[in-house]
């Protein structure tokens, strides 16, 4: 397919209004296969302005007289306005943007063409392979092994090639357990909590169906988990659906673990919102944030009505429950919902942040996102196809990953010294998950990534971020290693709207950046004079 077929007008004269506080930019507008360019005319010295077409969420055109206006609503929640000379040009450009921004093909997407200076292809992709995390687990315990049973993705298309499973369970048993779980997602280890010797596992729902089928190998697997932890260990199965919904799932072949079949395991239901309801909550919140004229009461009731903070609270408290089970009660935890690719990952990744100091460092957090979201098979391409502005009916879209980032932001706000990364990294991840020149968030699973050769033909976001000159924007100047678990308060009094994200484009960031820079100065000066880092107060 040629992009040129989709481009109706190459160029036009236009004026861009980038935001309420920024000056307008005049110049020649140009649509290319992946970008919208605005090159300012000779009198201006401003740089070329560039927008990745993929990041356009919705487009609105208006014509009046002999000029037109295009409003672009981007996936990172920015709203841009383009005033274009000529009615035809406006309509053509709008159509071109519409067509190009919604291309579905992965291999023609921009990451496959993006070749930034200073980065080598294939770099840093192997920073976080499953073997890497397994090495850490193997240092702590002998009860687990790395299985390559999924080498060709035949057992489970959404799992990576290698997964960590109990040493006592062989690959044949895994294969049988996989057939008993939706999408083949049999229970695998995602975190070993060394201080208590317990583990965090995730899977999808068992396919018990209306006949309440059982699977001996699946039962053996979970029994082996308890045996490998410590004598007499108990386990909790955290089901992210309500008891009612879990029961109903039986009618469609799913279900839950029967109590009698899994001795030592107790089931807990913690319903988390997912899918369309979550997407709608996101849309309504963004709508509310975009209206500057509302009264205080109206704002508060819209904030309440969109229920976003309620979802944040539920996600955090379920993660706390899982973490508490491990740390305080010495129990193993298995988390699953239905498919085990959305809310399950939300809970397991947050629980690790709460418990594991390493995951709170910059590299540790990148590793966590890579392992618990990308390799664990969160369908990024489906979930992040559209952001909050799209008029299209949502099909598979859901801001699960954004909800995760928001929860991390809440953790960072409550424990300002304990995360090595700052808000900048979270914002970058949000942006790149929805539209990115890097290949990291492409596709829905490792299998698809292999087929598209994403790992060899695109650059990794991690190497992009780590080569960024402005490392300060990603880092938290106040970070001090905190070896303890960080237990967040989940009372609504303690939760706040993430203004840095939801109101990012409605106010100029300047003053906060200046102040942040000042914090950096103070911290570096103090380190120079004291020759050491300040100690943690926790």
């Amino acid at each position: 397919m040629e992009f040129s077929e989709l481009i109706r007008t190459g160029r036009a004269q236009a004026e861009l209004l980038p935001g309420p506080e920024e000056p307008p930019l005049r110049g020649t507008l140009c649509v290319t296969g992946h970008h919208l360019l605005l090159s300012p005319g000779p009198p201006s010295t401003a740089d070329l302005w560039l927008l990745l077409l993929r990041s356009v969420d919705s487009i609105e055109k208006r014509v009046a007289g002999d000029s037109g206006t295009i409003t672009l609503r981007c996936k990172d929640l920015r709203v841009l306005q383009l005033d274009i000379e000529g009615v035809e040009a406006t309509l053509d450009i709008a159509r071109s943007i519409e067509a190009l921004s919604s291309l579905e093909s992965v291999i023609t997407s921009f990451p496959f063409f993006y070749r930034p200076k200073g980065l080598r292809l294939g770099d840093a992709w192997h920073f976080h392979p499953p073997e890497c995390y397994y090495k850490r687990v193997a240092r702590e315990t002998n009860a687990w092994r790395l299985s390559e049973v999924n080498q060709d993705f035949s057992l489970c298309p959404s799992y990576p090639r290698a997964v960590i499973v109990p040493r006592a369970v062989d690959d044949d048993a895994l294969a049988r357990s996989a057939r008993f779980r939706q999408g083949g997602r049999f229970p695998v280890l995602c975190y070993h909590h060394a201080p208590s010797g317990t583990v965090l596992l995730r899977s999808s729902q068992p396919l018990t169906g209306p006949q309440k089928r059982r699977c001996a190998e699946d039962e053996d697997l979970l029994r082996a988990v308890l045996a490998g932890a410590h004598p007499g260990a108990r386990g909790f199965i955290v089901d992210t659906r309500s008891a009612q919904a879990a029961k109903q799932a039986r009618m469609t072949g799913g279900g839950t673990e029967a109590k009698a079949a899994y001795p030592g395991w107790k089931r807990l239901h913690r319903p988390l919102e997912r899918g369309r309801a979550l997407q709608e909550s996101f849309v309504r919140l963004v709508e509310a944030c975009g209206d500057p004229e509302q009264s205080m009461d109206r704002w508060l009731s819209r904030l309440e009505g969109c229920r976003w903070l309620a979802h944040v609270k539920e996600a955090l408290s379920t993660a706390c429950l899982a973490a508490q089970g491990m740390e305080r009660e010495g129990a193993c935890i298995l988390v699953h919902g239905a498919e085990g690719r959305d809310s399950t990952l939300l809970v397991t990744s947050l629980a690790q942040l709460i418990l594991d100091p390493l995951s709170r460092t910059i590299t540790g957090f990148q590793e966590l996102v890579e392992r618990e979201w990308i390799q664990a098979g969160h369908p990024f391409q489906l979930r992040c196809a559209h952001s909050a502005f799209s008029h299209a009916r949502p099909k598979h879209e859901a801001p699960t990953f954004l909800l995760f980032l928001d929860c991390v932001w809440q953790l960072g706000r409550q424990f300002p010294l304990s995360l090595e990364f700052g808000e900048g990294l979270l914002l970058a991840l949000f942006e790149h998950a929805y539209a990115s020149p890097f290949g990291t968030f492409l596709c829905n699973s490792e299998k698809e990534r292999c087929l598209c050769e994403v790992r060899t033909r695109t650059h990794s976001l991690w190497s992009g971020l780590n080569h960024l000159k402005e490392q300060r924007k990603l880092r938290n100047p106040l970070y001090v290693l905190n070896p303890l678990a960080i237990w967040p308060s989940v009372e609504p009094q303690s939760l706040r709207l993430w203004q840095g994200l939801f109101l990012r484009w409605t106010r100029p960031p300047e003053s906060s950046e200046v102040a942040w820079e000042k914090v950096w100065q103070i911290v570096t000066e103090r380190e120079k004079t004291e020759g050491s880092q300040p100690t943690a107060s926790t």
Binding site: L300, A310, R413, P416, E491, Q499, L503, I522
Partner: protein
């Protein structure tokens, strides 16, 4: 001491409100003449000043003892369990007596002795010099002069002795105008913007009823607008909701009729009265104090408390003032009913936006001393220092501090002081430990001989300055001369949370901190989003 029956009770439990289980500390409770003191088994001390106690409640007897719940004016809530009901009853009764004093002389300030001699004490009182402050603003000058009309508190008992008025306003005009204003509080200068030659003036409502006029009052307003050589019209801002102001007309009070005054532009800004604010805070505290609320219940509680709406109204009014002076070069006259609550809020916040001096530690003290203390904000009644009419109690000053807190959040580099400074001041408006906030006006303070019998808070805060410094403060930054909230940042919540959470981690969470922290996200957002933008 006659109220104290039991001075010491052992084996008392202090419940930890923040733990998930019902954890508690066991220790000994002491009752002194000024404080309630709890020392736990780790020798950690919890002091509660009797004056800080807002209410004491004895709950029904339980198996472990008799629960005693103390709510403090600084929003702290302490929950003791006393093993024997008799002891609990004694302490309960003593606290009831001790927390409500009938006479000023029984307040803590009259017995507090920080070991200073008389000259040190006097020096402390002289630290803030308002005459010096007016000089700093640039008055007296060719348009404004010091009036001696109220030197003996003859015209207005609740005003200070020294008042600045337009040079062309003669004494008969002032006297005439004061007779036409509620409580005699005629229009006087509150802040002078030297560069713009525009002024913020304040007064109380006119006694206009449905049709009454007063030529002297009209003259005085004209004199104020003439004192501004650049702009001939002036704004008259009535900070009340229009309905309230109209209701006042039936009682022979009311608001200025634009037809009778030349060159005024009249404006209502709709801040609610002290009774609405009191019940709003009550509701807010209820919502904030409830554990295990759902997010939705919390936000609908927050909304129905109306607290944020009120905060926004006060901010809006202050921004109106700053804009009138900066953009239109116009003078502004502000009043509410008596001109000591809403007027103080709006005038002081407006000045804070306009003048970077008030954003320093010393300058903020001056601002409070000038707009609140000297102009007769009724601290003793509003804070309930004495056992008086509960209907006079209202968190007007607390609201002012909260508005300032918002500005510090929005302009992290513009203020020399930090949140701890605001909290410390909030502690002391209720503590009655220093003389500054006792009494309801300057005359009353002089009658009480506070400068001889008590100490001033300000030198003690200045000595502790280090604790109150904002590390991000940048005094050189010229762009912060006037706070123009279009350079505002929405998202700079990180720093405040650093401070808050540090305190949360290191100490049992102070309830006020939590309280303040709670409703900010929403609050700021709206305040900012709607109105703080200059066009």
């Amino acid at each position: 001491m006659e109220h104290i029956r039991t001075t010491k009770v052992e084996q008392v439990k202090l419940l930890d409100r923040f733990s998930t289980g019902n954890k508690s500390l066991t220790g000994t409770l002491y009752l002194t003449a000024t404080h309630l003191l709890f020392i736990d088994s780790h020798q950690k001390e919890t002091w509660i000043l009797h004056h800080h106690i807002a209410s004491v409640e004895k709950l029904a007897l339980t198996t472990s003892g008799c629960p005693l719940v103390i709510q403090c004016k600084n929003f702290r809530i302490v929950h003791f369990i006393v093993p024997r009901e008799r002891d609990c009853h004694d302490i309960y009764n003593s606290l009831l007596q001790l927390s409500k004093q009938a006479k000023y002389e029984d307040l803590y300030a009259f017995s507090y002795n920080p070991k200073q001699n008389d000259s040190e004490r006097l020096q402390g009182w002289q630290l803030i010099d308002l005459a010096e402050e007016y000089k700093r603003m640039g008055v007296p000058n060719s348009h404004w002069q010091l009036s001696d009309a109220n030197r003996e508190y003859k015209i207005c008992e609740t005003y200070p002795r020294e008042l600045y008025v337009p040079r062309i306003a003669s004494k008969p005009i002032i006297v005439g105008s004061s007779k036409f204003r509620s409580k005699g509080r005629f229009p006087v200068l509150c802040y002078y913007h030297e560069e713009k030659e525009a002024a913020i003036c304040r007064c109380s409502q006119p006694l206009s009823g449905f049709s009454a006029r007063c030529l002297e009052d009209e003259h005085l307003l004209q004199a104020i607008s003439k004192a501004n050589p650049v702009n001939r019209y002036m704004y008259v801002v009535d900070t009340r909701p229009k309905l309230n102001a109209m209701a006042n007309r039936a009682a022979g009070k009311g608001y200025e009729n634009e037809d009778n005054y030349s060159n005024i532009r009249f404006q209502f800004v709709g801040i609610e009265n002290i009774h609405v604010m009191r019940s709003s805070l009550q509701k807010l505290l209820e919502v904030n104090g409830t554990r295990g609320l759902s997010v939705n219940d919390f936000y609908s509680g927050l909304e129905s408390s109306g607290w944020l709406r009120h905060i926004k109204a006060v901010m809006d009014a202050a921004i109106f003032l700053a804009k009138a002076i900066m953009v239109e070069n116009a003078s502004v006259l502000v009043h509410c009913s008596d001109g000591w609550d809403r007027t103080s809020q709006v005038c002081s916040l407006g000045s804070l936006l306009l003048d970077s001096y008030y954003r320093t530690i010393k300058g903020f003290m001056v601002l409070i001393e000038k707009d609140w203390i000297s102009f007769g904000h009724k601290f003793s009644e509003r804070c309930g220092h004495l056992d008086g009419d509960p209907k006079e109690v209202s968190p007007v000053f607390t609201q002012f501090l909260e508005c300032v807190w918002h500005l510090t959040e929005q302009f992290p580099q513009a203020f020399e002081f930090n949140e701890a400074f605001l909290l410390q001041i909030h502690e002391h408006i209720h503590s009655c430990q220093f003389g500054n906030f006792l009494g309801n006006c300057q005359k009353e303070r002089e009658d009480l001989k506070l400068k001889e019998k008590t100490y001033s808070l300000w030198p003690f805060l200045l000595d502790d300055q280090k604790k109150f410094l904002n590390p991000l403060y940048s005094s050189k930054s010229q762009r912060f001369t006037v706070l123009e909230p279009n350079t505002v940042s929405f998202n700079f919540k990180k720093l405040s949370s650093v401070k808050i959470s540090n305190q949360m981690v290191s100490s049992p969470r102070n309830y006020y901190i939590q309280f303040i922290q709670n409703h900010l996200s929403s609050k700021l957002l709206c305040v900012l989003k709607n109105r703080l933008y200059y066009q």
